[in-house]
């Protein structure tokens, strides 16, 4: 009888949904539709008329050097994220041991993640400064003058300088997530493996690493999202330069809209970003589901 009551339709439920779905409809669903519609038009942001241009913006986009660079940079950011995950995992395994002061270490490493990305960006700008920056000062101080670089102005180097900032700022997050997952693995499993004669490396390779599979997947997905929609750190540190070497899709959207008033083209790049993101996430889910062993 109670079970039946639970299934009774409750019209009052819609009242509970009303605030959330009003916000959602006005500020999420409508903007997404608007973006799609705008991407087929020319619009300068103020005039009353929208000029239909069909797929013109998308065709232009695929020929644009800056868009290709954005995609390349997104893949570099993703590589950085994989490096980040590797460092975070090793650190998590280390901090999973009973070391005095390990909570303090975790807290300190987590700090860059809590602080605003723009503060991190300006801090690193100072560090990379070719003349007054501490990085070059240290290199010169130890006699490695030849290694002192113009970190953010060299087109080949700039993107990697920014990837390093991303790794540094995101490490604490990955570390904390890995650490929590490690702590949820039954310690007796590892002890049993050790008693059976497995070395520390073997325990890690054949037991711990595969058991963290879900965590790897979550972090990879978050890495994809972060890499594709990167904005503030390169925008603040280099403005996407030199010559587009550190640009991202979001920076291209921003520039086209707020510097050149090309709202239609900007919308097309936004739509493209969204499509890539959804495709990559679905692809990742698909590829990694195929390999399921259990």
């Amino acid at each position: 009888m109670l079970g039946r009551r639970r299934n009774k339709v409750k019209w009052g439920a819609y009242l509970f949904l009303l605030p959330a779905f009003t916000l959602f409809a006005v500020f999420v669903a409508y903007p997404i539709g608007f973006n799609g519609y705008l991407s087929f038009h020319n619009w300068n942001g103020v005039s009353d008329t929208w000029q239909w241009v069909g797929l013109e913006h998308f065709e232009r986009m695929f020929g644009e050097r800056t868009i290709r660079l954005s995609l390349r940079n997104a893949s570099f950011f993703f590589i950085g994220h994989l490096v980040n995950m590797a460092i975070a995992l090793l650190l998590a395994v280390l901090l999973n041991n009973p070391i005095p002061g390990r909570n303090l270490a975790r807290t300190l490493i987590f700090i860059p993640f809590v602080v605003a990305g723009s503060i991190v960006a300006v801090t690193w700008q100072t560090i990379y400064d070719p003349n007054l920056g501490p990085l070059n000062a240290i290199l010169r101080g130890v006699g490695l003058d030849s290694l002192a670089q113009n970190w953010l102005a060299d087109p080949k180097l700039a993107i990697w300088s920014i990837v390093v900032v991303g790794i540094w700022a995101g490490l604490g997050f990955n570390l904390v997530v890995y650490l929590a997952s490690l702590q949820s693995i039954d310690q007796s499993l590892r002890d049993a493996a050790r008693v059976d004669g497995a070395g520390r490396l073997q325990v890690f390779r054949f037991l711990t690493f595969p058991l963290l599979r879900n965590t790897h997947l979550v972090l990879i997905m978050l890495g994809i999202i972060g890499a594709v929609q990167g904005f503030e750190v390169p925008f603040i540190m280099t403005g996407g330069g030199p010559y587009g070497a550190t640009t991202t899709l979001a920076i291209e959207v921003y520039k086209n809209v707020f510097n050149f008033s090309e709202f239609g083209y900007g919308a097309a790049v936004s739509v493209f970003t969204m499509v890539i993101l959804v495709m990559l996430i679905l692809l990742q889910r698909f590829l990694l589901r195929e390999q399921r062993i259990d």
Binding site: L17, F24, P31, A116, S118, I127, F231, A250
Partner: protein, 253 residues
Amino acid sequence: MFAADRSLRRFNLFLMVVVTTALMLPIILALSRSVESPWGFRTYLWALSDPRLPRFYLNSSIVSAGTIILTVSCASLAGFAFSKFEFPLKSVLFLMLLITLLVPLTTAIIPLFVLIRGLDLYNSYLGLILPLAAFGVPFHTVLIANYLNSLPNELVEAAYIDGCSDFGVFWRIMLPLSMPVQAVVIVLTFLGSWNNYLLPLILLRDQALHTVPVAAVNVGSLAALFLLAVPTLIIFLLFQRVFIGSVTSGAFG
């Protein structure tokens, strides 16, 4: 049993100290750069007396508080309905929320700019709060609904038998019981709204309304930059456990 354990423990400690110091080096270097001659620590005195800084803290506090209040109320009500009520289109509506989790705020800046300008909310706190909350609500609704699913339905039924209204059940039973997940929602919304750079960049004109992240870019001195980071650090250090726990459960949510 393992003879090498003692020296291994020492090696672990050594490794941890080295790695942590290396990771803190950028902060240490930038801090020492901020007190270099000719002015030394006086730059911090000047920054402290800069009247703009309290204003930036205030702006960020208003935007964050507004976003947190709006997100918590909308997401709790909706999460409760999804978890404990049956109604037509329930799964369709829930799926809609799940799909939008894939659409980040970054890809919607053009329509949001046009919309906020059209609603006459450009250059206002509310113009930041509404989209920030709207893009957080789907995720937090799912988070709260999942949490409430783990609570027994008998609690709800008992309350109805005692004569509670729908809202009474929500307010007296569900809300108090969902405090652990509410803490997660608050922390994640705080981080997301306090640190957001893109929205204030495109939706504010007056420097008087600037929030901390946009202010940081042209605040002038390193001393002022670091002072801008202080409130976040204090809040983080005070609520460390909740922060780290929230971020972890947010990742798996």
